[in-house]
Symmetry: C2
Subunit: 563 residues, 2 copies
């Protein structure tokens, strides 16, 4: 083992993953240039009609069938295992496969149902995919590091290897979920694309010449191909929202303390200034709500010391439903007020993103809602200050993980190699003070919009780009500022799919004058020919801990634009 090269270890692991796909589910992967888009009809060709029906049903609809016994958990599990197996072969989105365990669990759920005439919990028989930071018994967690193969987070002899499970895994099982695979991540987790030396690149299924995003890029690709109805990712700088946006999905970045992170693997664990959070990605808002409610029903605050005792707040949700006329009497129907961020002034969004903003703004205006220009305190400062927290340790944690195997760094995170000076206590404290001041300024601005709206309330949500481009081209993710400001402020954000690139409409601006080199790079990375068909998404941002409200708004906006 010690004499094995990292290449051999990576290859063995890569082949071991593939070997877990049954022969009858093996397919040939066509060259990208021959088959750019592998979603829809392309992947359906390998599935039965029944499998397509099951896998193209949203999570919230699936459980309506499974908790009533109309669909067997086994059928549902098998259909998703099959489709996930196909997805992996087409876009490389899985790190761990445990279909056999899933099918056994599903059978046990069916037996439970047959015996007790009731479901185990609200997720009875629902397949849920997990980013490869969750520990699940009987399989590894590599997080894309070759050096983590055969270890527990890089360590051997901990007694936790293939035994320990993350807190949320326990809660998902308690709720009746069926776990069947873990999805790919970029090594370090600090890239908005998904690349590592074990599975290579994870491609965007809608357009395989583009990235599926990252760091929850395997989730994005898998759910984008309907190989999972709902899955959990994590987000420290955009890592749930980027793959959601790039794959035409809904995804929520909850605020810190809402969902249990306890017992998960992580990068730079213990960096406390900007915390990574865990949250779901899915094809519908009700799917996101379903799994969040199920987790909260398990009282995660009794098992994760960092989770706030905040059960699902129906009253927050109800307020939005009443304003939008979904429930309640006519007297309560009113306007929502949106802020619209067209640019952060650092890097300008590319044409399809600008069009998406116009679509959402027009839809909301047409429905009588209010839109004000969002002119907040500098996002540049938020971004610059936030980035510091990711280099407090000068890459010590990351270097340690790479040194276990000697494997090379992906180009995007090679800068960590150059860092050699850790921040000291007083510098970290100064960064924390500065961050708090920026949060205060931003909050003051938000609250001040009460004067600009006619609702008597500050803006309810911000309509904003999540990235300057619809998806990134490999190694061309030049700017993270559109996602990181939300992490810096610890705000709640929900990604909403809006449209798809149409090369006939979304032409490059011939006379665009870039702000600076970075902006120029972003601008030049947009090529309508390459991007044609790609998903175009936006985020709706609420203040801290407004998950219920923001999901309700996102659902309303999504429905209003026909998504």
């Amino acid at each position: 083992m010690a004499t094995e090269s990292w290449k051999e270890r990576a290859q063995a692991k890569r082949e071991a993953i593939l070997a877990l796909i049954p022969e009858e589910w093996r397919i040939k992967n066509p060259p990208i240039e021959k088959q750019v888009d592998v979603t829809g009809k392309y992947i359906q060709q390998y599935l039965t009609e029944r499998e397509v029906e099951i896998t193209e049903t949203t999570a919230d609809e699936i459980v309506k069938h499974t908790v009533t016994g109309r669909w067997s958990a086994e059928d549902v599990a098998k259909a998703f295992c099959h489709r996930a197996a196909l997805a992996h072969q087409l876009v490389h989105c899985l790190h761990e496969i445990f279909f056999d365990a899933a099918i056994a669990d599903a059978k046990a759920l069916d037996e439970y149902y047959a015996k007790h005439k009731k479901p185990v919990g609200p997720l009875h028989g629902l397949p849920v995919s997990l980013k490869d930071q969750f520990h699940v018994k009987d399989v590894e967690t590599t997080m894309g590091y070759v050096g983590w193969i055969g270890t527990f987070e890089g360590k051997i002899g901990t007694g936790k290897e293939k035994v320990f499970e993350s807190e949320m895994v326990r809660e998902l099982r308690n709720s009746g979920a069926v776990l069947y695979c873990k999805t790919s991540v970029p090594h370090t987790l600090m890239i908005g694309e998904t690349v590592n030396n074990i599975i290579g690149l994870t491609h965007n299924p809608k357009n395989r010449s583009l990235s599926s995003g990252g760091s929850s890029g395997g989730e994005g690709a898998l759910i984008g191909l309907r190989g999972s109805p709902v899955g959990f990712g994590t987000d420290i700088g955009g890592s749930i929202r980027i793959p959601a946006a790039f794959n035409g999905l809904y995804g929520i970045r909850p605020s810190v303390g809402r969902m249990p992170y306890e017992g998960m693997a992580n990068s730079m664990d213990g960096q406390n200034s900007i915390l990574s959070v865990v949250g779901p990605l899915a094809t519908s808002v009700p799917s996101l709500r379903l799994v969040m409610k199920a987790i909260l029903a398990q009282k995660p605050w009794l098992h994760d010391p960092l989770v706030h005792e905040l059960p699902w707040r129906y009253e927050q949700e109800r307020e939005i439903l009443e304003i939008t006329g979904a429930i309640g009497d006519a007297s309560k129907v009113g306007k929502l007020a949106f802020g619209v961020l067209k640019t952060d002034g650092v890097v300008n969004p590319t044409p399809p993103i600008r069009r998406a903003i116009d679509i959402v703004v027009k839809a909301m205006k047409d429905l009588g809602h209010e839109i004000i220009e969002w002119t907040p305190p500098s996002h540049r400062h938020l971004h610059d200050e936030g980035l510091k927290s990711w280099v407090f340790d000068a890459g010590t944690d990351i270097k340690g993980a790479f040194s276990l195997s000697g494997e090379p760094y992906a180009k995007q995170i090679e800068f960590y190699k150059q860092l050699d000076k850790e921040f000291i206590g007083s510098e970290i404290a100064a960064t924390n003070v500065k961050m708090r001041q920026l949060k205060k300024e931003y909050l003051d601005y938000w609250v001040s919009t009460e004067k600009s709206t006619s609702t008597g309330r500050p803006v309810d949500a911000i309509i904003a780009p999540l990235a300057p481009f619809p998806a990134s081209r490999f190694t061309m993710y030049y700017y993270y500022g559109y996602s990181t400001w939300v992490n810096m402020l610890d705000y709640t954000s929900v990604v909403v799919p809006v449209t798809n690139v149409d090369k006939a409409i979304d032409k490059a601006d011939a006379d665009y004058k870039p702000v600076d080199d970075r902006d120029k790079n972003v601008y030049e990375s947009y090529d309508p020919e390459i991007y044609d068909g790609a998903h175009v998404s936006l985020q709706l941002v609420g203040r801290r801990l407004q998950e219920e409200q923001m999901l309700a708004i996102a659902e309303y906006v999504g429905r209003s634009i026909g998504k």
Copy 2:
């Protein structure tokens, strides 16, 4: 100014404070040995009957009179200004006096009431004292540092000097509170006693040979003398609870994110691993509840980015009221389950503390409640790990504050001088990980007590010492572990006064075998002759963010033991 010595500057400030006390309120301060206890009849001799009536009314009762116009805000303000002036002369508890502004504000409140026939808010006309970390317009914030005199947090030319107000000050004013003084703290805030080079020592009014505690020691002494009905302190290692306990008061340490700390001065600002929190001290639980509800009614989460959007939760409170039969029908009456921590195994509590535990345990048992022995994971580890966070910067912040004037360090914090190596990013991260693991272990233990109780719930609260002694003797605060574990875990804790030292009962254990030198020091510091009459208090500890529940339990326990 630059040529002035720190002594001259300190003396000038000390005299300026005294000079703000009107001639007619000046008294002679008797030598301590002549008058150990200056509470009750002693201080009353300088007050009118009406002033005694007003100042010995609890905050919650005061507002019943002031919000209905029965008592004028001016009368109430003047009575407390007078008594605070006396208190300061007897125990040195004030850093800033602004009686004139208070009386003017009170008159304005009376005019408002006369005109509108309604109060400004729920605290209409209630005097509220503030620890000298709050910024209040027109006065300074020295935090006990000579070098901060005439500055804004040690800096000059910020434009904030005597203009800027802390967020909670704004909210208190909005609620109708009358602000009139700021109370003493130990320089650095990192001592459980109150001593600095400006006002010297703050004495315990019940027993002036003992400390009033710290760091909110001025609050403790002032409220202990009824010079304030309710005041706000802060707590990073016990600083609200210690003065509350030492002065026979109720005091709550809320969890992080419940009350707004925005815009307050602090030590080691930006240290993010164990955050200081702000909370009230008062002579009754309803007083604490009153001010916390008033603050929450101001929606502090819209003005302090670190406050959670958690309005007052009546349902949490109601649950306890129903179980204890205070409201609701008989079917809901039940048992509370308490854990009792008799010792943390590191340092043993002195005899009066042990007796206080027996009193509370017996009272709860007699009322039919359940008591189980609390045998948690090591408190020693909690204490040791927690202490690290207070030296992350190797005292850089503190040294800077002292260097402004060249004043000497109090003996208790001289160790900061010796520190010369700041923690680096990866060390801080490792500490944070360790803390999270300890929190998880503790939470698991707590939840596991569900199996040991007959209530179907884990323990509702822990009955625990807050310090190993009833109050500390000056410079003899040898062990903070009984308060710091709560900060380390971010739990909610309410101090409850239980009894007073009785030298005839609370004798020293002649045959006590100390655990180690520290334990020996604590044991030897207890002298029944010196301690006779001192307040003896305990804390009731709940899990994170259980403020409503813990106040209800504390009120019930206090009432049950006749407090």
